[in-house]
Symmetry: C2
Subunit: 505 residues, 2 copies
């Protein structure tokens, strides 16, 4: 196994160390791919966490065995609810615990006794409360963990792993399509939000781990795990506070040298730090120090989930390299100007195209009102995809162009629809052909295409536009072309990727 | 008339000057409220500008008289097309010209002879082409204008004035609800986009003027007009280049001392400036100089249309004052932390609430998992509006709180819907009650409420969520509470407003 040799060499020899690491990783591997799950705290009715996570696993189509547990017994969706974990006649790989905080230690101890490898604890009411009782309860969990069971949580939303069908709270309808992006997050809400964003943006996940208070498994160990996880190529992290700063940054540096890491650091303001303390009992830390340290580790720091999505999507779809020059194509002069103005602060150039290419493009463009320099102004939003293909192919021949930004204002077809009368918007909007020609131009021209799909018409009676935009976005991302709401988001993402691969060069 | 006295005093006396200004404004007033319009270049069929703007005026319900003109005659929508402007038997206030560039001068001269007060020229092919022919054609227009007709354009999308029913290209379905925000724009595309954005964001317009190449009426004169326009309270400007820099900044300073001005300056990058030259024949200018000059004029510079919308909406809805301290309410710890982290760089504080108020709020909150400091973490997205009302009222009592940010993740009701079975999302999402209680809390507590309505579920089968969000947004803005996609956008807007009113104080 390549991984073993690699680790062995990096550790500077020592059979025992290597074996321990592999053993530890094997346990974590089993957590992500359990053959059987016990869910402790499943009521027959209501909207509790236990019942909700049970239904979510049924909805998402988890193929292993599910065992609902509740001391009151009963049944759920035609399945018997076991009165205790001990009463389950089968071997259990993984447990999901969703009982009130004071009952968690005994439930966990029962899991350990039964030989469960790992457990996620959804319940809150531990160290994040700041109360002596909460802190003591969490200490109990740590003590049990040390006796031989790995923990995710407490105060978390659990694990989402599309490949194995493990899902998080509330996640009944997250995607089952596996991918190469991982998220490691102290926040549950942010974890599940990222899962849902990925579904429509075309970000596919190896795993999402919401670890909450992180009383056992947390940022540093999981980072090292993800470094060696063959299913993960891009690592996203949401962190409020770390258990061991020095070790965390050592791990971060090692990991970022091999795989891109994107981080949101929450709690860097005075009031944000105060909020983090009551959220996951974390200490915020100094903003300037954090930012400098992250930069030194060659980690991409982002501000929010939208930016994380932009960057993760771009890392997962674009070939790994630096991107300098961009060809911008849009209908309407102000659009192109705005794109050019936006590119500059990100260090991205929008250079004039080569004279012969400009002339060739001018032949294709509608006149007057168009411009072939760069940004290319196609003058109106109804230019046929076949011309867009030609323009992309010409611009691709310019050696100063590394990628394309195509801005499409598909909402303008609504005006056309009003003119034409009784037609469906999806039928008159040539979005299918558009995705096809852009992909072709990318294949022939060898320069990535990024689509900007703004929607300035978001009125209540304009849902049809949203529908067409969503279908367009799916077609583009399925064809490997990332789609953004704005040029700013796209340039920011490309700049992040360029910065990373410049360092890796 | 108060306006006269005011002007008279500012001009330092001089009856003639005052009368001239009023006369000039009277002409412009008539352009925005014409009783009769001739549209020159209307074909019986096709998708040309002339036909399109004619249909748009019919669709939007312009109440004055419309006279389509085309030398080939014919009819459109049951109306006779006149073969020339001279052939129209009626008096014409305003003309819309959409014939090929070389035919524009004679059409314009005919309008002037007939006594038309003003004309907008939609045709392109003038100075923006950079050709001697284009430049010469535009000079001809200027000569005719000087003989006594005011011009908007050429190379523009025209005027939108919801009160009078004047609409721009392609604008058949812009809103007819008048408001207090004006836009003065060198770009047509951006003008009509802003019109459509206003429709769903709740920004209502006094007028939008797309002036394109601006061979007669343009930025400086129109700024002075808008300063005195009683229907305009907030002035937005999109500018690529100005005809007279010194005069423009003098006007800008005068205007901004009385009404907030929000500007996008296009073409401040090297490539953006090149693009602006071919778009409206404008010279871009130096970025640092422009930004310093705008700051000195106390103008709010924004980067793009989304930011302009955020700021214009907030200026139009919030009471004119400085806002320092903010109470943030959201479900999920990371959300609140992110909000607090985002507020700080904008100079907005998220202070701990007074101890007694925290205790009162804690009584109302679900437990565990919630937090009452500030940000207030309501722990889950299903907290009833009646509790949200109470929390807002308590937080309003804190003297350090100037406004509220309420983050609502209504998309979570989709999970509830999946649990409940056959119910409509709009029926189980308490958005109507939410808008009602927020407005009540604002009335009683006297602190503005701003709603953040993210939608992380934008999948093709999640259109129902979008529908609920759109209806929620409408209810809130109709009730005077601005709605934003993200906390960052909201804080940026509040910070802009605070900066402006600090200066005006």
């Amino acid at each position: 196994m390549v991984l073993t040799i690699n680790l062995y060499q990096k550790a500077g020899g020592g059979f025992l160390a290597t074996e321990n690491i592999l053993q530890e990783f094997a346990d974590i591997d089993r957590i992500f791919d359990p053959k059987s799950i016990a869910i402790i705290g499943v009521s027959s009715e209501g909207l509790g966490f236990g019942r909700s996570i049970f239904i979510s696993h049924r909805s998402i189509g988890y193929e292993g065995k599910l065992y609902p547990v509740n001391k009151r017994g009963g049944s759920i969706e035609g399945m018997k609810i076991y009165s205790s974990i001990e009463a389950i006649p089968d071997k259990i790989d993984f447990a999901i615990i969703a009982v009130p905080a004071h009952l968690v230690p005994s439930a966990l101890e029962a899991c350990r006794s039964k030989g469960v490898v790992g457990a996620e604890i959804l319940s809150s009411g531990f160290s994040e409360t700041g109360t002596p009782e909460g802190i003591a309860l969490e200490e109990e969990l740590k003590t049990i963990a040390k006796k031989g069971i790995r923990l995710i949580g407490p105060n978390c939303f659990g694990i989402y792993c599309p490949k194995s069908g493990l899902t998080m709270l509330p996640g009944p309808d997250l995607s089952r399509k596996p991918g190469s992006v991982a998220l490691l997050s102290q926040s549950g809400g942010l974890s599940v939000d990222f899962g849902y964003i990925g579904k429509w943006r075309g970000i596919h996940f190896s795993k999402i781990i919401s670890f909450g208070n992180g009383c056992d498994l947390r940022e540093t160990e999981m980072l090292r795990y993800l470094r060696h996880d063959p299913e993960t190529r891009v690592i996203c992290v949401y962190i409020e506070g770390v258990a061991d700063g020095r070790d965390f940054f050592t791990a971060l540096k090692e990991v970022a040298a091999e795989k891109p890491v994107i981080i949101i650091k929450g709690g860097l303001s005075e009031s944000g730090s105060r909020a983090a303390a009551s959220h996951t009992a974390s200490l915020g830390g100094n903003k300037a120090i954090w930012e400098a340290a992250l930069r030194q580790c060659h980690v991409t720091q982002v501000e929010n989930l939208e930016e994380m999505s932009d960057v993760a999507l771009t890392f997962s779809l674009l070939p790994p390299r630096e991107y300098k020059g961009c060809a911008v194509m849009g209908g309407g002069g102000a659009l192109g100007i705005a794109a050019a103005d936006t590119a500059e602060p990100y260090g991205i150039k929008v250079p004039s195209l080569r004279k012969d290419l400009q002339e060739a493009i001018l032949e294709v463009l509608p006149k007057p009102g168009s411009s072939a320099t760069n940004p290319v102004d196609i003058a109106n939003p109804y230019v046929s995809p076949k011309y867009i293909r030609e323009i992309l192919l010409y611009a691709s021949q310019d050696e100063n162009i590394d990628f394309h930004i195509v801005i499409q204002l598909l909402y303008h077809y609504k005006a056309l629809q009003l003119n034409l009368g009784n037609v469906k918007l999806g039928e008159i909007t040539p979005y299918k052909e558009l995705a096809k020609v852009c992909r072709e131009a990318m294949d022939i021209g060898k320069k990535p295409v990024m689509l900007i799909l703004p929607n300035i018409r978001r009125d209540e009676d304009d849902l049809e536009i949203e529908e067409v935009n969503r279908e367009t976005r799916r077609l583009f991302t399925e064809a490997g072309m990332p789609v953004f709401d704005s040029v700013k988001n796209a340039f920011n993402a490309v700049a992040s990727i360029s910065r990373y691969y410049r360092y890796r060069r």
